[in-house]
Symmetry: C2
Subunit: 234 residues, 2 copies
């Protein structure tokens, strides 16, 4: 049956729901996941919400704030363990691994983290945990404070580097295949270097290009935590 004349549609079904900051940030994260951080432009996010870029400025002060909001939204995915002072070294590592996992699940969001002082609630939650568990483990306050900094920087930097391998190569093959062709390119280049000027690099090509990113990450993490532990009282 056709609708009788003079009858308005029941609710006008507003397919374009009103803009909210939360909706904007959610859309931005969708674009991030699909197209990487460089794909997250004000225009692209607006398009995702069927509007123009100027409309976003009523809910977000600009690109920088949007970046920070995206990061904190993503940081909510980080799961923290039950604090156990006996295992503080292992727990510090666990959290670092978990943050890395979440950063890597969202393209190159780590770039934002690296360029920011943490202020969002979800980021602070992580810092609070690390400070708490290190303090309980006997790391003095000054050392613990600087240690969260160093740990955060390390996780961020490693994630940025790793994300880059994925993007620099074409979007063709599988991520692992991409990483492999990338690494073997580097290996060939290092092997072809003049041996008299770079004897150690040439001799250590295999070690320099060894390990998936996981082993490399674990090694740096282990180094950091050993160093932090050397500041703890027994």
């Amino acid at each position: 049956m056709p609708t009788p004349p003079g009858r308005k549609p029941r609710k006008a079904a507003p397919s374009r729901r009103p803009l909210t900051q939360d909706g904007i940030v959610a859309a931005a994260v969708r674009v991030l996941d699909a197209e990487g951080l460089d794909g997250v432009t004000m225009r692209r996010v607006a398009q995702e919400l069927d509007t123009g870029p100027a409309s976003l400025y009523a809910h977000v002060s600009g690109k920088d704030e949007l970046n920070e909001l995206m990061l904190d939204r993503v940081a909510a995915e980080v799961r923290l363990p039950e604090p156990d002072p006996e295992r503080w070294q292992e727990q510090v590592k666990e959290v670092a691994r978990e943050v890395r996992r979440v950063w890597q699940a969202h393209a190159d969001i780590a770039r934002v983290s690296l360029a920011m002082v943490p202020t969002g609630a979800n980021l602070l939650r992580i810092a609070e945990f690390q400070l708490a568990v290190m303090s309980a483990g006997g790391v003095p306050p000054a050392a613990a404070a600087l240690a969260v900094d160093s740990l955060g920087m390390y996780v961020d930097a490693e994630s940025v580097e790793r994300a880059m391998y994925g993007t620099k190569l074409g979007e063709g093959a599988s991520p692992e295949e991409q990483l492999h062709t990338f690494i073997s390119g580097i290996r060939d280049y290092y092997k072809a270097l003049p041996q008299d000027r770079f004897p150690h690099i040439v001799a250590m090509v295999d070690e320099l290009t060894a390990g998936g990113g996981d082993e490399r990450f674990e090694f740096g993490l282990d180094i950091l935590v050993r160093g932090i532990a050397s500041h703890a009282r027994p």
Copy 2:
């Protein structure tokens, strides 16, 4: 006296010398130093050389290559000590400090280093030194290889963060003053956090915001080198 007719000017004084890759990179570094990495655009570099952006593409494949060439040119400024295996831990630190010094002398060039596998001769020279001195100091190859990575990442990340404080604030006051107002802003924010949710952050505000960048950097560096040393044979 006027110049007689039919006489060409002595040498035509080519005020716009022909473009070379070296000249382009030098101009790019000048822009970098004066206006930061974001100021280095193909257009701006071309302008510096009295030409248009399209002219650069005959000597440089694009923006990425220009960035890498800039970094390697700047890396030439890094001075390496005479290798002394007895003092390998101190020398590894010295080089890290020196790289940090040079990166910070050139705005936020560290961002390029972080997003790159080192291939330029001057960058490789630094890596070669670190590998050599650690090997001589008794660090096994696998550990030394991963250690250069971690050290590089740490220096780069610290320099990126530090460069950011300078840029985010206005260009008004002195760098130290900028850093100070920036840090005290952070301190106020942390102090105002709800104490029940973030007890350690609130309690450790002073430690978290303490120290000029130098002490913080030294601490992270010390942690890393202690960790590396724990892998060395005695």
